[in-house]
């Protein structure tokens, strides 16, 4: 955030990175030990409630920018993500959604009419899978890829839209429920994507989108940060709505990182300035978008980004429209829980096992037993 130093002479922000897998745990330890060596930290909305319960963060509602954080300045969905017990605890910086990217050339070769840009005609996952298989017969290497294979974020709406819940229920979201009919139905579908060869077992996160950009995949379910790359990839592509499970209600993934202040920071005033700059100024929000090409939550910056998308190409213009629609109507938050980090890690591993052939019912039962056991150790 270079603009911060220009606005506040003498101040600067230095960033330290921690490995993704251990980020939340390390943060918990540092905050719990009142470590004062850092002023700000990125926070995933899923850990807001556990951090509040553990007394690790302080609300920002009373600060100047806390008061400016209204549904007129920040996307309402994003505010919900960082709100707990009626208070706002962090500044949401980015938001996200998912689209169905498709390759026109590959669909045309297979005689498939591409999915429409009308939300009422949203394709089902089953429809996408069938079209993907047809495209493969006509020469596409992959039928349907996920930009985040084996990640809870991207598949949460599937079981949930079938009535199976997020996987966590009860007070504090501390009860694991992933062995119900809807979850099993989802797991069987997930396995079929790989057992039929529609999706690749080898391509990892980051690589699936590259395969789409290289014109190898008929469909890609992906986040907005691939829009510009797709627009510049030199392929004939289009975009539509994130699919819905047959018989389910449309739901889409959302949320992204927020920024919070360390209560033990010796530079609290500067820290709060930085949060305000990043979350509630056009310069700051666009600085962040330049660094990480996600959608900003600050409404003027969000509108400008959609405008940029609209002016870039026809598909990105469609994407801009889809984004507004999904965030307003279909976005579902991931569950907030003290056990979320364990839950997510276990679900991700379970998806990988299901993908490589483990019996879905058995995999879900095993995961549920492991999670129940690990949840029994969580601080009460």
């Amino acid at each position: 955030m270079t603009g911060f130093g220009q606005l506040y002479p003498g101040e600067s922000i230095n960033q330290t990175n921690l490995p993704n897998g251990t980020y939340t745990g390390t943060l918990q330890q540092l905050l719990g030990a009142h470590d004062s060596s850092f002023d700000l930290f990125f926070i995933d909305p899923t850990v807001v409630s556990p951090f509040v319960e553990a007394g690790l963060i302080t609300p920002i509602v009373d600060t100047t920018f806390g008061k400016r954080m209204t549904p007129r300045t920040i996307l309402p969905r994003a505010i919900v993500g960082v709100t707990y017990k009626g208070k706002k605890w962090a500044m949401p910086l980015w938001t996200s959604t998912c689209y169905l990217y498709y390759n026109n050339t590959l669909l045309k070769a297979a005689g498939i009419t591409p999915p429409s840009a009308d939300p009422k005609k949203r394709w089902t996952w089953q429809q996408v899978a069938a079209a993907g298989a047809q495209a493969q017969k006509a020469g596409a290497q992959w039928g349907l890829l996920l930009s985040q294979p084996d990640r809870y974020y991207q598949i949460q709406p599937l079981p949930q839209s079938l009535g199976g819940g997020t996987g966590l229920t009860g007070p504090g979201n501390l009860t694991v429920d992933i062995t119900n009919k809807a979850w099993l139905q989802f797991a069987q579908f997930y396995q079929s994507l790989y057992s039929t060869g529609l999706a690749s077992l080898d391509l990892l996160i980051g690589q699936t989108a590259l395969a789409f950009e290289a014109g190898q995949a008929a469909f890609l379910v992906g986040t907005p940060n691939y829009l510009m790359a797709a627009a510049n990839a030199g392929i004939d592509w289009g975009i539509s709505y994130y699919p819905v499970m047959q018989g389910g209600t449309p739901m889409t993934p959302t949320d992204s990182w927020g920024l919070a202040a360390n209560p033990s920071s010796p530079n609290m005033s500067a820290a709060l300035d930085a949060i305000g700059f990043a979350g509630l100024s056009q310069v700051g929000a666009l600085d962040l978008v330049a660094a990480v090409s996600n959608l900003p939550t600050y409404i003027p910056a969000f509108t400008q980004e959609l405008h940029v998308l609209g002016a870039t190409s026809y598909p990105t213009k469609v994407a801009a429209g889809i984004t507004g629609y999904e965030l307003a109507r279909t976005a579902v938050h991931r569950p907030q829980s003290v056990g979320y980090a364990i839950f997510e890690a276990t679900i991700d591993q379970t998806l990988a096992s299901i993908k490589t052939g483990q019996n879905p019912a058995q995999a879900l039962a095993q995961a549920e037993a492991t999670l129940k056991d690990q949840f029994s150790r969580l601080p009460k």
Binding site: G25, L201, D202, A341, I342, A345, T356, D373, R377
Partner: protein, 302 residues
């Protein structure tokens, strides 16, 4: 593990205990201090921390053996221990005979021996992370290994993606990394065997295999013990390839104890259970090493 000087230290030159030795000892202390403090700081202290931590709750209350009770009744822990022991045994069964065979082979005068020896040692100089990444690509479903199988008309194999093959794949990766390294120690041991023994045996009519069985192998016990213990330790504490290649899966088939304890500590944020698991790991390793000492000790030096 990397204490080459111990393995290759000549067995001769022992002196009876005397005042001179204690003076030597005093003189040695300043030189030993850096390594001794490193041992205390990076080995003993963490171990003591683990033991103490394993007897306390997350809130630092004494809970006795509660964390151990939780661990052994936890679903999946038995599987983790079984998989870890199987991995150690398989690693030893693969690595030691190959390293020994190569050491015997390259102790002979063979054409291009030095070049081949160097090539075999190269994997030991490559970082374990790079090796793991290379293997991920070689054995990917579109990788060169499957391309060769396809060219030979053999069905493609899932390798790391199969619960039946992934542990074996880790054994192969570790053998590739370790074998050349272990071979060097065994070769050094073979070099120390006095040439006269072989000549005398040859005069008595002993052929190559007989000389190897009755001279080389018995006199190599010390080095064999060293490489066996070294390979055992590295197998028990294996972490990076698991993280990079399998993430403990598929279906827990490579959920080795070191990886499992890492997951408990840093993903589940359950440090007490992770401490208990590390303590159990240390105990298991010690049992293995003690058995190896008992089997391979005796008559090593003369």
């Amino acid at each position: 593990v990397r204490t080459a000087h111990e393995a290759t230290r000549p067995a001769s030159g022992r002196k009876p205990a005397s005042r001179r030795i204690s003076r030597d000892t005093i003189a040695a202390i300043p030189f030993l201090l850096p390594i001794l403090s490193a041992v205390v700081l990076f080995r003993l202290l963490p171990f003591v921390t683990a033991i103490v931590g394993s007897l306390r709750s997350a809130e630092h209350h004494w809970v006795g053996l509660e964390n151990y009770r939780y661990l052994v009744t936890s679903p999946g822990f038995t599987q983790t221990v079984k998989v870890s022991l199987l991995f150690v045994v398989l690693s030893l069964l693969v690595q030691i005979p190959i390293a020994l065979g190569l050491a015997l082979l390259f102790s002979q005068e063979i054409r291009g021996g030095a070049a081949m020896r160097t090539l075999l040692f190269v994997p030991a100089t490559v970082s374990i992370v790079s090796s793991a990444i290379i293997f991920r690509y070689v054995f990917a479903s579109f990788g060169p290994a499957n391309a060769i199988l396809s060219a030979l008309g053999i069905q493609k194999q899932p390798f790391f993606d199969s619960p039946h093959q992934s542990l074996w794949m880790l054994v192969i990766v570790m053998a590739w990394i370790n074998v050349g390294y272990l071979m060097i120690f065994l070769m050094a041991g073979l070099r120390q065997v006095p040439e006269e023994y072989y000549r005398a045996a040859a005069i008595d009519g002993a052929r190559y295999w007989r000389r190897t069985r009755t001279i080389s192998l018995p006199l190599l016990r010390r080095q064999l013990l060293f490489v066996t213990v070294g390979a055992t330790l590295s197998a028990f504490v294996l972490f990076a390839p698991v993280q990079l290649l399998t993430g403990g899966g598929p279906q827990g088939s490579t959920n080795l104890i070191m990886w499992d304890s890492y997951e408990r500590a840093f993903v589940a944020n359950d440090l007490p259970a992770a401490y208990a698991e590390i303590t159990i790991l240390t105990a298991l390793t010690l049992i293995f090493v003690v058995i190896q000492f008992a089997l391979l000790r005796g008559g090593t030096d003369e």
